[in-house]
């Protein structure tokens, strides 16, 4: 094999914009006073339990998994909206877990979040133009006149036109899809180095969802966006993600290029996520593989492979030995004893 085509080799050259290593978040389970006095052990919700990934500049990484798999917690950790239990997060070479309060405040303009529910993340009493301008005010970017111009440009860019009309409106005067455009505009106005989008299109109708995905795909090109795109629906990763990481119960179980995950998914859980996507062709009876039950409680995750109680391919070894992420070819990494 030509050493130059080796993935490890190219990784050394291209500097990753985001480097996440062995990220962990254990939320302490609340004990009653009595429990503590009785000496009951402190339990932890292991929401994220050793997650590592890189995102290169201009790259979008999809993070996919069922509800409760730890996606939102991962997103909040990499933006340091909550404190890490362990591990490190570097953004553009800076270890953000080491920044003090003031340094972090100043760094915030470079890292932004797009939420799931636009209504909850917009102030109902603030005109949307002012909402989009807000991050510029906070971080003191540009003169008042320049700020206004930047907002107008951004409004046009996310197709809220005519901009002067939309500038004056309040959130309740917009449709769900339009509100999500406002949230995207607000996140991008400071030209951030890195954006986390957490279920950014989940609350929208299918047709509006596609409009927003198109917008994100276009913005990705225009702004050379580096993004973590969190979703429970694998079908929505298709148009914006370059690589995809599949998460289950606090761990990444498979990670690969968009092509690899779509063409040759390896992990049984990845296959399940694909087969769960509704198929509009009534004759194309999909060979459905839907795991039973729900994601188990992360306080006490199953032994061995965490997916084994729901996995139809589980073998004896799966119950005792935890599979490690390993390369199954061309950089596609899978954590499963079948490989």
């Amino acid at each position: 094999m030509d050493p130059k085509s080796n993935v490890g080799f190219t990784k050394v050259i291209a500097m990753a914009m985001v480097e996440v290593k062995n990220l962990k978040k254990y939320f302490p389970v609340r004990r009653t006073f009595i429990d503590a006095v009785m000496g009951k052990p402190q339990l932890y919700v292991k929401a994220v339990d050793g997650v590592s990934f890189d995102i290169e500049e201009g790259e979008v990484l999809g993070l996919v998994g069922e509800s409760g798999s730890g996606k939102t917690t991962t997103g909040r950790l990499v933006l340091r909206l909550i404190e890490l239990t362990d591990g490190s997060v570097k953004i553009d070479g800076k270890d953000i877990s080491k920044l003090d309060k003031e340094e972090l405040r100043r760094f915030r303009r470079h890292i932004q979040l797009i939420f799931q529910d636009p209504m909850a993340s917009l102030n109902p009493y603030m005109r949307i133009g002012d909402a989009i301008k807000h991050p510029l005010d906070i971080h003191d970017i540009g003169s008042p006149k320049e700020r206004k111009r930047m907002v107008y440009e951004m409004l046009e860019r996310v197709n809220l036109t005519p901009p002067d009309e939309f500038y004056r409106r309040y959130p309740k005067e917009l449709s769900g899809g339009q509100r999500q455009r406002v949230v995207i505009a607000r996140a991008l106005i400071t030209k951030p180095k890195f954006v986390v989008a957490d279920e950014a299109v989940a609350m929208l109708d299918v047709s509006i969802r596609s409009q927003l995905l198109k917008l994100l795909a276009d913005l990705k090109k225009d702004f050379n966006l580096t993004m973590l795109f969190i979703t429970h629906d694998l079908a929505t990763t298709k148009y914006v993600c370059d690589r995809i990481a599949v998460m289950y119960l606090g761990k990444i179980v498979e990670i690969g290029s968009f092509e690899q995950i779509y063409r040759s998914p390896k992990h049984p859980y990845t296959k399940a996520l694909i087969s769960a996507v509704p198929e509009p062709d009534p004759k194309k009876k999909k060979e459905k593989f839907i795991p039973h039950g729900e994601v188990p409680n992360p306080i006490n995750p199953p032994s061995g492979c965490r997916f084994h109680p729901r996995c139809p391919f589980a073998k004896d070894v799966c119950k005792v030995k935890e599979p490690e992420l390993k390369d199954v070819g061309n950089g596609q990494m899978v954590a499963c004893h079948l490989y």
């Binding site: 449709s175 109708d205 299918v206 409009q211 629906d233 298709k238 694909i274 198929e279 009534p282 839907i290």
Partner: protein
């Protein structure tokens, strides 16, 4: 036909003016048939569902006929409706958290529901029925003693389904039963609904904004846009030979996992404001093939090889009985 809608109109009186949320909708539901009711947010799907249940607010005015086993529900008093709801026709609501009472145990939801209809049923018997219904939806009957918040979103939806089915209704209206759930739980719930429907010989109206969801479930699909029924046809026909430009656009905009299909299609713009809808065809401002007449006159509903379509494109294709 178990349920028949004839030219149903539901208009809300608001301070801004009349909202024609449902405006002349007609279709029937046969025994054991599943009809998918599809459309974007605000197209009038839930309003129609509540209208059939007669659970609309006082500001709503209802016209046309809603026939259940041939009897017009308009003629029923609220007292009679209370008997009908749950027993003959049940609704599974869009948001299970807000439609379950947070301070009532699951068990009490069942007992209340059963005994409202059949006061002669003892509490023990009602509990036994609840047990069976919970088991049928894959919930351990022991959990009857829990409160709604102690369940995950998917489990709560299962409880809602069990509540909807416990009296074995003829028709179930499921309003976006999976919209707030993740894809795996969605697939589980759809599978469950399919099984239960077959087991209990029910008819169903499945409401959703996702054509992908109904395609796996429905025999027939009704597509709504801005209060109008714009296309009605067998599921295969909707998929293989969509007639209405809106149906076509809706189909194309569904994200799928086929890697050979990389072009992202979407419907530009958004549905109209129903207080002040466009004249003529309500889809005209977003329609890629709109013509002059579309902006001037409302299109008639015509039948084109088995599909009912409300669009000027097909006006010459039949005798134009609009």
């Amino acid at each position: 036909m178990v349920l028949e809608l004839r030219d149903v109109k539901i208009h809300y009186k608001t301070t801004r003016g009349m909202v024609k949320a449902v405006d002349g909708v007609s279709f029937g539901v046969d025994k054991k048939e599943t009809v998918g009711l599809v459309g974007e947010s605000g197209s009038g799907k839930s309003t129609l569902g509540y209208g059939i249940m007669k659970l609309l607010p006082k500001t709503a005015k209802v016209g046309g006929e809603i026939l259940l086993d041939g009897e017009n529900l308009a003629d029923k008093s609220e007292k009679e409706m209370q008997k009908i709801r749950g027993a003959k026709i049940a609704m599974i609501f869009q948001d299970p958290m807000t439609s379950l009472n947070p301070v009532m145990k699951v068990r009490d939801h069942f007992v209340e529901m059963i005994r409202t209809h059949n006061p002669e049923i003892s509490e023990e018997k009602a509990e036994e029925m609840a047990s069976k219904a919970l088991e049928a939806v894959g919930i351990d009957p022991i959990r009857m003693n829990d409160y709604p918040f102690q369940f995950s979103g998917g489990m709560r939806q299962r409880v809602m389904i069990a509540l909807g089915l416990v009296l074995n209704p003829e028709v179930v209206i499921a309003d976006e039963p999976t919209t707030s759930l993740d894809v795996i739980v969605q697939a589980q719930i759809l599978e469950l609904l399919k099984d239960l429907k077959a087991k209990y010989d029910m008819s169903m109206i499945l409401i959703t904004h996702d054509l992908g969801v109904v395609a796996e479930m429905a025999d027939k699909i009704a597509v709504m846009y801005a209060g109008h029924l714009v296309e009605l046809a067998k599921s295969e026909k909707i998929y293989y030979e969509p007639k209405h430009p809106y149906t076509k656009a809706l189909l194309e905009s569904i994200p799928n996992t086929d890697i050979n299909d990389l072009e992202l299609k979407f419907i530009p713009g958004s549905p109209p404001d129903l207080v002040d809808p466009p004249k003529g065809c309500k889809f005209a401002p977003r329609c890629p093939v709109a013509r002059k007449i579309c902006f001037e006159k409302e299109p008639p509903t015509v039948e084109v090889d088995g599909s009912k379509v409300k669009c000027w494109l097909y006006e010459g294709d039949s005798d134009g009985n609009g």
